[in-house]
């Protein structure tokens, strides 16, 4: 249905029909004392021309940047077809699918999304998406607390190698619900969570959160961690990068019995960085937990004539059926982004995703080699990594990053603010979008920045540059 605005004439005709003089009269039931004042601090609206110019200038600030920041959101190439199809009116403006007979297109797409996601995670069920990876982890924790009949103490082990923002969000969401989040330290040599550091919580926990790869880009020993969780009769919650799951072992295959719940951030699959969002969260689980899964679930069924159709299903989990007993307060899903992701996954296929992940892996290792050829730049964790790495610089990371920014290079994510013990450490990422010329440029500028404050002899500078080019 097209959008047809009212003309002034239309409005007058309608008001006359119902016997009202002006629109304001329709609000006369609201006491004057409750009526909102004018929004003084909100500026007047811009014209389309003014706004277009403003947005063009803003966009310029964000373009032409060479981005080496990962830390939970990753720059991947998105084939042109993805947003071309996603932007079609049928997908762009489809409304929430509560009326199944009018929403078969949306519902079918969500069903396909759920199928692809559960396949990627090697688990039985997926929901139709949540707001983002961090709140998805919070929902997974709540789900584990509700589902684990063996453990009523609601203690959740949360490694410090889990994304710091995710840990903050989980604490904010579950903190007042009687659930205790216990942070587990990481091994400073490997940057991983050792089973030995969990032992003091044996037999006394409800769930263990296992990141893969972890926030440092390091690959954790997910089999050992999953098995340990199950030995304690605790639920294993995987929080993963979905792109990485095309290359690494999927959560459903971890350990002897597989992780029970898998969640994470869907942004790497066809969603642009877009200055921080919107993104979407995914949540999958084994079939036995499906009734505790929050969010929308689309099911496939047959209609009265025996023809295939799609519907929202298991709705007794949701607020609109059982408010007080709903599994979550969420009553939506990130429809547009999931549409883009589903189209992205369809175009890439499992092999395309795997190749992309592999290209990221290779690029990150190449970048590591180029940067660590610079004196004073060191790898911090002696561990296998995926496409991000923690490097220690010989100087303050905040200063170095702001200097690099002057060359339009976003060098990485400074770790000292969230991990005080990792002073002068930066988290650097390289995806398939980067080339060896990009790495050479990064190395050249980093060398320049590091030398500038140390006043190093120009000859030494030239020598190291040549070494870098050789290594590329």
């Amino acid at each position: 249905m097209p959008f047809i605005p009212h003309t002034k004439h239309d409005v007058q005709t309608m008001l006359a029909t119902i016997g009202v003089d002006k629109i304001d009269d329709l609000f006369d039931e609201i006491p004057a004392s409750l009526r909102g004042a004018s929004l003084a601090s909100i500026p007047d609206g811009l014209t389309e021309m003014e706004l277009t110019r403003l947005m063009r200038e803003r966009a310029k600030q964000d373009s032409d940047l060479l981005c080496f920041i990962g830390a939970g959101a990753y720059e991947h190439h998105i084939p042109a077809a993805v947003w071309d199809v996603t932007s079609r009116g049928e997908y762009l403006t489809a409304y929430t699918p509560y009326q199944a007979e009018a929403s078969q297109g949306t519902l079918q797409l969500l069903y396909e999304y759920q199928t692809m996601m559960s396949s990627l995670m090697a688990l039985d069920v997926s929901n139709a998406s949540l707001y983002d990876g961090a709140s998805a982890l919070a929902e997974a924790v709540l789900m584990a607390a509700r589902s684990n009949k063996n453990s009523k103490n609601y203690r959740i082990l949360m490694p410090r190698t889990v994304h710091p923002h995710y840990r903050d969000v989980v604490r904010a969401i579950v903190g007042q619900q009687g659930i205790e989040i216990i942070e587990v330290p990481f091994d400073p040599r490997t940057g991983t969570t050792a089973v030995a550091s969990l032992q003091k919580y044996a037999n006394d926990i409800t769930a263990l959160v296992i990141p893969q790869p972890n926030f440092f880009g390091v690959i954790e020993d997910v089999d050992a961690l999953t098995n340990w969780a199950h030995e304690q009769k605790a639920i294993a919650i995987a929080v993963v990068n979905p792109m990485a799951m095309a290359l690494l072992k999927a959560p459903g295959q971890w350990g002897k019995n597989g992780a029970d719940i898998a969640c994470g951030e869907g942004q790497p699959l066809g969603v642009p960085l877009a200055s921080g969002g919107p993104y979407y969260g995914f949540l999958c689980c084994k079939k036995e937990f499906v009734r505790q899964l929050p969010g929308r679930i689309v099911g496939r069924t047959v209609d009265a004539d025996g023809k295939q159709g799609f519907v929202l299903t298991l709705q007794a989990r949701e607020q609109h059926i059982r408010r007080a007993k709903a599994t979550s307060n969420i009553c939506t899903n990130q429809g547009l982004l999931v549409t883009a992701s589903t189209i992205y996954m369809s175009l890439m296929g499992p092999q395309g995703l795997r190749r992309t992940a592999l290209a990221c892996y290779q690029n990150a290792h190449a970048l590591r080699d180029v940067l660590t050829a610079i004196p004073g730049v060191e790898v911090v964790f002696a561990s296998p990594m995926l496409h991000e790495i923690v490097l220690r610089l010989p100087q303050s990371v905040d200063t170095v990053l702001s200097e690099l920014a002057k060359f339009n290079i976003q060098g990485g994510y400074a770790l000292n603010h969230v991990y005080p013990e990792l002073g002068n450490c930066v988290l650097v990422c390289a995806t398939e979008t980067k080339t060896s010329a990009d790495f050479a440029k990064y190395a050249e500028k980093l060398q320049q920045v590091l030398s500038k404050s140390k006043g190093v002899h120009a000859a030494f500078e030239k020598k190291t540059l040549v070494d870098c080019e050789k290594g590329v």
Binding site: R291, A316, R322
Partner: protein
């Protein structure tokens, strides 16, 4: 017309109660309830040895169109649950007073207070009909 066996006692919230020979009570939902709910798809039963007060939510029955709480008609401790319902929730539709029983409870008090007779419950059902 829904069936309302004379030998049973009832609550306002459509549970039936049978006093068994071992002084335990068997509880289920009535024929009227299962008709209103429609095809049952899932039952959430209480945990064994759980204690409940009269009127406290003790179970959930879920149909294709609604999820309804079941309230304990007495205060007591759960001694048995009908595990057949986990795989066969439709037994509640097919045989609500027999195979569709939900749980057995040991009442804390020997006298059954505030429960309705079959006639009284029939009046409740009739008043609900439009």
């Amino acid at each position: 017309m829904s069936s309302v066996p004379k030998s049973l006692k009832y609550s306002n919230s459509h549970e039936w109660v049978r006093q068994d020979e071992d002084d335990l009570l068997t509880v289920g939902v009535t024929d009227h309830a299962q008709t209103m709910l429609g095809d049952l798809v899932y039952v959430e039963l209480p945990e064994l040895e759980g204690s409940f007060e009269t009127g406290q939510e003790v179970a959930v029955v879920e149909s294709v169109k609604a999820a309804a709480d079941v309230y304990s008609p007495v205060s007591g401790e759960i001694v048995e649950i009908n595990e057949l319902l986990l795989e066969n929730p439709q037994l509640i539709n097919e045989d609500p007073y027999g195979k569709g029983w939900l749980f057995r409870i040991r009442p804390f008090e020997s006298e059954l207070k505030d429960l309705l007779s079959a006639d009284e419950y029939s009046k409740v059902v009739a008043s609900e009909a439009h």
